[in-house]
Symmetry: C2
Subunit: 507 residues, 2 copies
């Protein structure tokens, strides 16, 4: 493909995206395809000859788009948001066009240095403690990881290796494998699945401690567990707290957890994948309590900052603990300035060697929106969730299962789980809005998360009308059904009087 | 930013990329910035107000580009290629514009199904064994990982967990931590640093076995190590072979390694990050020998297939071994069709939960180039490396350190390491071409890798002229210096005869 064709294809793709995003409300958020529908429409091997870009865009329109779940639609209310923005989309275009990698400084100095800059921008925007800034003297700083899962795994693995080094000095009578066999980590039973998975991958059990009735994990639960485990000869390594949890966006109590961690030489990591965005708001300053006492922290930029996935910010109070744990060096990766400046070689801060120029899309997104625009976006999510919450509260057939938290409302139809379950099933079949369910203390509930690229109050109205009208229809049908069931039973009773056989009835 | 501005910014960015890539030869491949130069040109916090996209593109041009190492330049000859292409750049644009995630089928059915399709396309293109195809009955298939490092880590962790499960059954007298303490893995001392790192992360030592003089790891070395380790009570888990190695692109002997692995119930993984591209060529069919006997395999699409980083293909003979090892389930991630079809939920095949729609850029790149274009691209790299190899051979001041392998030529200036080291230093200071050094048996050598988006024979001429002319200047300067040194020593001798003090000489 020459540059002339590239230009045509590029410009046509920009138009394609504008057309897709500006008309996204016209599509059902969930697709109608069944498994294998997309596979069956595609050829079984690479075409031998090049194809014209127009055919590719046609197939994208007619085969791929109909098979998508539309994450940028305001009617996508599942999980948490994964939002993109104009600046971020163009950021990805430029990242791919420039095509550099940045695993060490020499690989592309601007790639590393821009990351240092935007991670400090973000830390200041979020009002994080000074020791997380690169520009601050000291071993702390921020890095972009691929995902929250990776950030958590990095913290877990670094904490594990640091504990092993520490124990080998303090208890030289133990072999390394004896030490490893005694390591134990903690999180809440409300935490994200990636935390449990990090424990599996790290071969270090993560105990999921019972959160309180309000779904908050507190220091006393951690203290109790550590006391038990230490008495049993185990070695506590790390506690992963959540701000907020995946199910209901509950906020673990960082202050009391930090106290226990400090007393027991336990690494405290905070998974603030979603709620971290609220650190930027003065009205949410309470959420930041205790952050000056944590060892590491992760926050997803696609959840509240309009930088598209993948882009997971992670801050470390002492990055040397990660570098020391993961560093495996080779001559072909060394460069002249390595280790002679405070500028990091980020390959030592992460699991993979290779790394994309993700700082570029962060830089572009932040500049196109400004700090003002970013704060306005987060506040909009909160306001829209308040709007939804009010609608739930005003309808006596529904109840909240937990207080609204930022852009998330957890609610259910009153009564037994079956109603909520059937309601969700209907909504999924109609495909107009997309929510997922979760469970707490035996109660099934629905999670309504404000998502999409540009949600508006009218979208909340739309979603609520869909939900409450479907509950109305569901109840009406159930009444009809139960009336029919009543009539049928009467009829059966009547017919049985006529001594008709089953076979006759079935005709 | 509204869609009107998005259109302007988008179209201007396409032009920016065309301008950058079409004039890339005019830039020095290495930048002239010193550490902190980029940082010092940028503000210390997010601008409060949104900025116009024109200012962003200006800063990109004047601050960022001058700080880059230009990976798409044909004068970038370091590491291995990380190439992009028009189709892949636009693929990234569309991925970001559509903005969906694909961690389970329901998340975006087309995202998962297109990945199933392109991974089968690629497996057929590379002539991989049938059991690696999704369309084949059985538990095998391909998945896109973020990087080769991740793919290797997935294989190492899955093999580890499978070994633990197996041993718990066969040796119930051992505790889990006793088993874990005895696990051991193998690779060659020529393998990529990410393999050693995978061992650190997995808390399972990876023994780097001595490759032969030809830098090839063979079954006998593995057999010897396994026998020793088993005798010492250790439990062999996995062997990671390389096709080819990072230093010289040597090909480990898969057949003989497979025999030893089969005899010892050891997982055999092949890291074919670079050389895997050659599986597509009939003239390289020998490289595929033994692949039908391996358990897993990884191959980077950015190295030979013009799909930009990140995109690392991985195939598993039995994906259930990974799923079984990593699966951590939650109600909010479940969906109706899960487990009821052969279509994978790829979140169980990888480390993170989230995943981008990378299959889209693969699909677009393959269609814009066709199988014919992809094969032609690989053959071009080989041809250009042959051209370079001939130039090295024709100059008696240089020698090859290993046979050319695909697009890589390893060579050095004859004589002691100091000449090669100084030559590289000069080349780095001049910034016209970028190579890295490596070492084998005490001999320092330079790696010339054909890279860049569109390298041509004239680029090879350019690089060679730069290299050989710098050796000429270096030698000339050294002769002058040694003459000067000779003169100085004569002068000193003469002056010392005059009984002058050092202080006088220094004036």
């Amino acid at each position: 493909m020459d540059f002339g064709e590239f230009r045509e294809f590029g410009h046509a793709s920009i138009e394609f995206i504008i057309n897709y995003l500006s008309s996204i409300r016209e599509r059902n958020v969930l697709s109608s395809v069944l498994p294998y529908d997309v596979i069956n429409q595609l050829p079984r091997q690479i075409p031998e000859q090049p194809e014209h870009w127009r055919r590719i865009l046609e197939d994208l329109e007619h085969i791929i788009l109909p098979g998508l779940t539309h994450w940028q639609s305001p009617y996508f209310n599942a999980f948490y948001p994964s939002s993109t923005s104009a600046g971020s989309i163009i950021g990805e275009l430029l990242i791919a066009g420039i095509g550099v990698l940045g695993f060490s400084w020499i690989c592309s100095p601007a790639c590393t240095e821009l990351e240092v800059v935007v991670m400090d921008w973000l830390a200041k925007f979020l009002n994080l403690p000074q020791h997380f800034l690169h520009e601050n003297e000291g071993p702390g700083g921020g890095v972009i990881q691929g995902s929250a899962s990776e950030a958590v795994l990095v913290a877990v693995l670094a904490a594990r290796e640091q504990a092993v080094r520490r124990l080998r000095l303090s208890q030289p009578e133990l072999s390394e494998s004896e030490i490893r066999g005694k390591l134990i980590a903690y999180s809440s039973d409300q935490s994200n699945s990636c935390i449990e998975k990090a424990g599996v991958l790290a071969a270090m059990p993560i105990k999921l401690l019972p959160a309180g009735e309000d779904l908050v994990l507190r220091g006393d639960a951690l203290k109790h567990a550590i006391e038990q485990d230490v008495a049993a000869g185990l070695i506590p390594v790390i506690c992963i707290a959540s701000l907020g949890t995946t199910g209901t966006c509950a906020y673990d109590d960082i202050e009391s957890l930090a106290t226990i961690c400090e007393q027991n030489d336990v690494w405290l990591h905070v998974d603030a994948a979603y709620a971290g965005g609220a650190f930027a708001l003065e009205e949410c300053s309470e959420l930041r309590r205790g952050l000056e006492r944590v060892d590491s922290l992760n926050f997803n930029l696609h959840k509240f900052m309009l930088v598209n996935f993948d882009c997971a910010a992670m801050w470390l109070r002492d990055a040397n603990k990660v570098i020391d744990s993961f560093n495996v060096d080779r001559i072909y990766l060394k460069h002249k300035h390595e280790g002679q400046t405070q500028i990091p070689d980020f390959r030592h801060w992460q699991i993979p060697l290779g790394r994309r120029f993700r700082a570029l899309k962060v830089w572009i997104t932040f500049r196109t929106l400004g700090a003002e625009g970013l704060r306005a976006h987060i506040r909009k999510h909160i306001r829209l969730a308040e709007q939804f919450e009010d609608l739930v509260k005003a309808d006596e057939r529904f109840e909240l299962i937990a207080p609204r938290a930022l852009g998330l409302v957890c609610f259910r139809a009153k009564g037994d789980n079956e109603i909520t379950s059937q309601l969700l099933q209907r909504l999924m079949e109609r495909k107009k809005i997309y929510m997922v369910k979760a469970e707490h203390c035996g109660q099934l509930f629905l999670r309504f998360a404000v998502c999409g690229m540009d949600p508006k109050p009218s979208d909340i109205e739309f979603a609520w009308t869909e939900i409450e009208s479907q509950l109305t229809s569901l109840c009406a049908e159930q009444q009809v059904n139960s009336r029919k069931a009543g009539e049928l039973s009467e009829l059966t009773h009547h017919l049985s009087g006529l001594h008709l056989t089953n076979e006759t009835l079935q005709r």
